[in-house]
């Protein structure tokens, strides 16, 4: 990790600002695109993502960016626990993953929802 990593500010739909490292923010292809194409100012507005959802998204990205590449078991159990939540939050996370274009997160949340649906039938 670079000692001076650039910080990005993300503003949620309810105007709460989150400061994250650029490497973490770049997990989102949407944010990455906005920054690389100079479409954003100092703060990136994310009007479709509420702060509690955004906090969880950041938590997910942080874990995936900072974990060593070969520790698959740890990541798998983290992911499994991460989606073991209220279905409405899960839907919110999936929508956010889609909007922010974070593929691994979208796959994780969609699969979790599909599993719940098939299990309940």
């Amino acid at each position: 990790m670079a000692s001076e990593s650039k910080m990005i500010m993300l503003r949620s739909s309810n105007n709460e600002v989150f400061e994250v490292e650029e490497a973490l923010a770049f997990e989102s292809q949407t944010i990455k695109h906005m920054i690389e194409h100079d479409c954003a100012d100092t703060v990136i507005p994310l009007p479709k993502v509420s702060s509690n959802i955004l906090a969880k998204v950041i938590e997910y990205c942080k874990k995936h960016v900072t974990s060593p590449k070969d520790d698959n078991n740890e990541l798998e159990s983290f992911d499994a626990e991460f989606v073991n939540i209220d279905k409405n939050v899960l839907f919110g996370l999936m929508s956010a993953a889609n909007y922010l274009n974070i593929k691994s997160f979208l796959d994780l949340t969609s699969q979790a929802l599909a599993d719940i649906i098939e299990e309940k039938c």
Binding site: K87, N88, F91, G92, M94, S95, N98, L106, S110, Q111, L113, A114, I116, I117, E118, E119, K120, C121
Partner: protein, 384 residues
Amino acid sequence: MSQRKYGIGFLFLFDSIGYVYKGKKFAVYLPEELLTNIFLRLGVNFLLRCKSVCKTWLSVISNPLFVESQLRRALMTPTLLIIDYPRAAGLPSTNIVNPFPRLFEKCNVVSCSYNGIVCLCDDNDAIYLWNPSIGKFKKLPPATRNRPPCLLRYDKVVFGYDSISDDYKVLKMVYENSKDFMRKVYVYSTKTDSWRRFEDRIMRKLNGFGQTDIVVNGVLYIKSGSELITFDLHREVFGLIRVPDFFGKNMSNVLDFEGSVGIVFKSVGDAEGIFLWTLDDVSGQMQWTKKLRINAYPGSLWWLYCYLGAGLFFGKMVPDHDMFIHHILYDYETEETKLHVRENVCATVKYAKTLVSLNGFEPLGNMPTKSITGKKRSRGSSID
């Protein structure tokens, strides 16, 4: 919409697309692309029920692009479709899920299944295309005019999928009259819903009924003695591939091994054992290369039937000490062999559950079959 009929899962999903339900408005709105994402991860049986929930769901699931995406996912993890033939009664049948349609009682399964479609034909020249997952089928128009039944016995029917034109084709190789020394060929295309007749000298090479066949990369390979008769399904052209002499007579079925044509054969000599060889394009030339060793039942390769993917070879055998057929699953990566006992003689087909429906498909309707003892029984099952 009653909970009893559709289950909690439906309500759960239905809630989330922002509909007003029982006076409550739900805040979460799920766009169609996300709905598709979830649907792609659900099983075919479930999806078929989802179709009757609302217009949005019906349109998403019926969309040909969705059917294609679902198909591609399904093909990544093939399973087995097991059909217990009614005429093999006498032994009690095991756990069955779907009834085997009475319509197909006298039929044999032709070739392999492709994209979830199974081809069946019976002794009376009737050929069917069937998707067991959605319960729809069609009967093919006749290829030839009435012929004496003794000639029908020498028909060879083969089924394949042309991925270039997205066309399911059936080949029929027949003796039209008793004076024919070589079979005539009829090709049926689902797209045109018609047969085309032609002759090819390569048909002289097809001895007897030919053995197994498989489609790899749009080309049909029919094993015939020590040669492979090929048929390019798109261009509708025959060819011939020789199998190395040292393969000898002891060869397995022709397989689709991860996109290449494969044959397993037992070598005698310095490299004793059973090996899989594949036909690959090596610098522009088609060559047979030795791929891997098969360590299940080194004494014989007659058990080997097909390659399922993900390292698994599937086969059947009746061990010496037993009278029941055993299904064998051999994992070449872990070198583990698993056995399952099957109590009935049956057809087992490498299969993937899909929503694919062809032109002219009609629903089967639930027709139970009867066993010899007169009790109603169900036939046909799938295992993962």
